[in-house]
Symmetry: C2
DNA sequence: AAAACTTCTGACCAAATGGTCAGAAGTTGG
DNA sequence: CCAACTTCTGACCATTTGGTCAGAAGTTTT
């Protein structure tokens, strides 16, 4: 809730080039918007609320992003950038023991480091991906199919049990994603105001062990 | 999207007692509202939209539910009823092989039979449980703690590996919940317009196997 | 320092939204 | 069949919301 003042507040003459001002303000707005969208959803977030949290007049928000939808799209494209960037491809040559461990750890770290992004993504999917459909149908599906294929090759090599690749993917995705999505719920259930590093590590350890053993993969 | 006409449409003189009319209409409205809330979220759903889908004038919706929030609460309480009812308690005497299998199957069936309810619940949690906090803090937490305790007793009896009970609960919850939440996504990724029974069965089989083996539980 | 350009903002606006209300229409009990 | 009651609804209303715009303020270029 830190109402950090906008970069330009009360001091436009701070010797910053216009280009710099533009970039700073755009990013500032995107950050604030991301947080609010993740907390209240698309419809639940008003431009006025974003303006107040960003300490900028509403008209200024609309100067940078002409419509609410454009602002939301801006937030989403930021998110997808993070997503695609850090979604490493598992390869058939890697042993699943290492590949799956790395994947789980990376995904959980992502949930921890970008909780807003994770939640917006989840909400988007939950409501039928009205804004992301296209991207999911192309980029994400490609990634998904490729990874399932890797699983199949591992199975062929007897490196893991013949589990259903698609359902393994779902399970990996949902159980790692959960550490961002149900943070609130987790906190209620664990009686903590926030998940700490220990919790994330425990979660990762648990999942790695469960998945490897569950898939009949020799640990170490 | 079937705009099924309201029970009372065009025929109030159908010899139904007022009490009956009241109940029929309340239920009809709740059903429509549940669907819309699950598709568009709380803020994204307007009373007017509910009225149109229910084939009733807006004022009539507000006659039965004085405010939008009251209507949403009505939907939520319906949902919690389903939830609590079907969330069977696992017992320390049961063997985890059976208890966990039953739990997973039941949860996945629930995702299939009540997808709207599941999604509303997920969205609620995702946004910090603004309407459900109290209930989660009492009922759900109690359930959660009790079940973790059962896990610990199973572990003490050497019926399963010493896994972290809390994280096992998270994993069970999120991976079963997923079959309702990411239905859309799943459909995109699996190239289907809808998950069919086979998919749900495959999912249940996969999860049961994975969890039992992952927890070092002897199958059969 | 003046012209050209970008950034910023208060004042508006039309549409949508949640909600009210008076009275019509229908049902029930005596 | 009439009085009491419940259900229903069109017309209205205050507020909120996304968005516009003219012109002020600041920066860059010449």
């Amino acid at each position: 809730m830190s109402k950090r003042p906008a970069p330009n507040v009360k001091s436009k003459s701070n010797r910053r080039s216009l280009a710099q001002v533009r970039q700073d303000n755009s990013e500032h707005i995107l950050r604030v918007a991301e947080r609010l969208f993740s907390e209240r959803g698309y419809s639940g977030t008003t431009i006025m609320a974003i303006a107040e949290e960003a300490c900028l007049p509403k008209a200024n928000i609309l100067y940078y992003f002409h419509t609410k939808e454009a602002l939301y799209q801006g937030v989403l494209s930021n998110i997808l950038k993070i997503w695609m960037l850090s979604m490493n491809d598992m390869t058939p040559e890697q042993h699943p023991r290492d590949a799956l461990r790395d994947y789980i750890i990376k995904k959980i770290r992502q949930s921890k480091e970008y909780p807003h992004a994770s939640r917006i993504f989840a909400a988007e999917v939950l409501h039928g991906a009205p804004f992301l459909r296209k991207q999911l149908e192309t980029d994400l599906k490609e990634q998904f199919d490729k990874t399932c294929d890797v699983f199949r090759q591992w199975i062929a090599k007897k490196w893991m049990d013949p589990v259903h690749p698609e359902h393994l993917m779902f399970m990996l995705w949902s159980s790692t994603q959960a550490y961002a999505d149900v943070q609130v719920q987790s906190c209620i259930l664990l009686n903590k105001s926030e998940l700490d590093d220990q919790d994330y590590n425990d979660g990762a350890d648990f999942l790695v062990r469960m998945v490897l053993k569950g898939c009949g993969i020799n640990p170490v």
